[in-house]
């Protein structure tokens, strides 16, 4: 004990001489991280009709220590095509992450969709290379069940649930249990709300080399409750299989996804499929071009017949980064809807502002 006394005195003396605590001279990770995005886009179609969309969101995360983090993602938007305004909370999750050779991440709460590349990569306007998002996220498929709900091929869902992800250098895997079918979007503050369905998601991918990943997922669970249509006496299930890939190098970035839904209906299992491929090329520090081709195929089912219908969308975008935070985009979109013989054309302008605050 006596030997420790000079050490303590020396430490006290040093502390009194030191002008500032060490913590004041060293950067520490911020406890709170906030970034916000806002976007406005205006489209005009061949008939001169203007459609204006608005978007405001924030991603807030709070580090809780020991690998824990709370993340919230509130949004407000005005959907261009419908003019509907809404505000919602898309993500409110408690996350645990342990980095390492085999990293582990656990999410619980209101999750970002564990299914689909589009959900993962383009949901915020500054991350989306084009002005519009993949149609599969929002566009309802033709009716599969007379009088029943119209599902999405793979909706932009934000379910309650839990997800575990593990990954190594060249692989990743995840499993999730969610309360929402990927075929039916369900908001926290948006009505009407479809029923809850337990769905199990399994997914994984390999990364043969940096910049290239191929992944797949399978989701199984209910999508339509008994009694939602007059011809549905029992709860119906759906199996959703996705294959996704991303390739990036130098100034180029490509991504693609293929989706197959096997959807149980009162008239048997119906299959809907779809895919998109998108690319982005940086031309100069401020200039980029991007494009996306998307196709959805699904049957239109009536009591008497079933008819395959297709939807095709092609979009091209030219972007200019005014500043680090501000991007202007101009684009053209050609879209042929389900059961439509011709393409409709839209020309759009978009202004996207994104800022990382802390």
């Amino acid at each position: 004990m006596k030997r420790s006394r000079p050490v303590v005195l020396l430490a006290l003396a040093f502390a009194s001489v030191a002008p500032l605590a060490a913590s004041a001279q060293e950067a520490r990770p911020s406890r709170v991280a906030i970034d916000t995005a806002a976007a406005v886009d205006d489209s005009v179609d061949a008939n001169g009709r203007h459609l204006t969309g608005l978007w405001v969101d924030a991603v807030v995360s709070v580090g809780l220590g020991k690998g824990f983090e709370a993340v919230a993602w509130p949004i407000a938007q005005r959907v261009a095509n419908t003019g509907v305004r809404s505000a919602d909370l898309w993500i409110a999750t408690l996350r645990y992450e342990r980095p390492g050779p085999i990293g582990v991440r656990v999410d619980g709460g209101l999750l970002g969709s564990p299914v689909g590349l589009a959900n993962l990569s383009v949901r915020r306007p500054h991350l989306n290379p084009t002005i519009a998002q993949p149609a599969a996220l929002f566009t309802a498929l033709p009716a599969l069940e007379p009088g029943g709900p119209r599902p999405n091929l793979l909706g932009a869902i934000y379910p309650f649930g839990g997800q575990v992800s593990v990954s190594g250098t060249r692989w990743d895997a995840r499993a999730a249990v969610i309360d929402t079918s990927p075929l039916r979007r369900r908001g926290i503050f948006v009505d009407p709300k479809p029923p809850r369905f337990a769905n199990l998601v399994l997914g994984g991918g390999v990364t043969p080399f940096v910049g290239f990943r191929v992944g797949a997922s399978m989701t199984r669970g209910g999508w339509m409750r008994a009694g939602e249509s007059s011809t549905t006496p029992t709860t119906r299930n759906a199996t959703i299989v996705t294959v996704e890939s991303e390739l990036s190098f130098a100034y180029s970035k490509f991504a693609g996804e293929w989706v197959r839904d096997a959807i149980e209906t009162s008239s048997g299992t119906r299959v809907a499929t779809g895919w998109f491929v998108q690319g982005q090329q940086t031309l100069a520090p401020r200039w980029f071009v991007a494009g996306r081709v998307e196709r959805l195929e699904s049957p239109l089912v009536s009591l008497a017949s079933s008819q395959a219908q297709r939807m095709t969308t092609v979009e091209e975008t030219l972007g200019y980064r005014v500043t680090q935070d501000l991007t202007v985009r101009a684009g053209h979109r050609a879209r042929r809807g389900f059961g439509r013989p011709d393409y409709g054309h839209q020309f759009s302008m978009s202004l996207v502002w994104w800022k990382r605050w802390i």
Binding site: Q25, P29, V59, S165, S167, G211, S248, P285
Partner: protein, 244 residues
Amino acid sequence: MPLLDMTLGRSRGPLAPPRLVGPVVALVAGLALLTEGPVAQGQPGSVVGRVEIGVPISARRPSGAYPGRAVAAAAPALAPVSELRHVVIYLRNARPQAVAPMHVAIRQHHETFSPRVVAVTVGSEVEFPNDDPFYHNVFSLSRAKNFNLGRYPRGDTRSVRFDRPGIVKVFCEIHSHMSATVMVLDHPWFAVPNDNGRFELPSVPTGEQSITAWHERLGDTTVRVRVDSGQSATADFVLPVPAR
């Protein structure tokens, strides 16, 4: 105490490039010569001092609603250890000089630029080697220099030559928490403090001089000192300026 005057404020840059031309430039240059510009009179002096940071500095950490399918192999590092290495001390209002170009590196390691701040002379090249086992995409849209190096893997590097004075903010297109600053100066009178905050500006022209300490979060703090021939003037900084 040689600390004669202290001002705090944001500036456009260490040496905002003159946009005026012709007679206006000549007039301004003449006035600068007669007033506060460095005046070479015999043997130059030097400025030494110490920098302290009086407030906690926070660094950005990764954050995202969608963190990606893969989990990070390692937690992002913060480098260098001392925030004092992110301060640049320079002679304000110095006239442009012919300076030798430098060659420095800003490494991308554990999702962090290291060092996060460098000061170089005009014409210098800065390398951006990638030490991480995944892509980075270094870019800047700053007025003094805009560039985009694209994606390149670990072990690869790209370099950028900085031909205009000013502050160049550097980011990673893929990791929004990564940022660095390249301060480009057209004179030799600048320094980055050591881990203890000590610095020296050698061969400073004699006369009244404004010495500025710049920090990316704390802005500019400027003190005026008198540099005498063959003497060493002292300029100490506490960032930010304490409230009175």
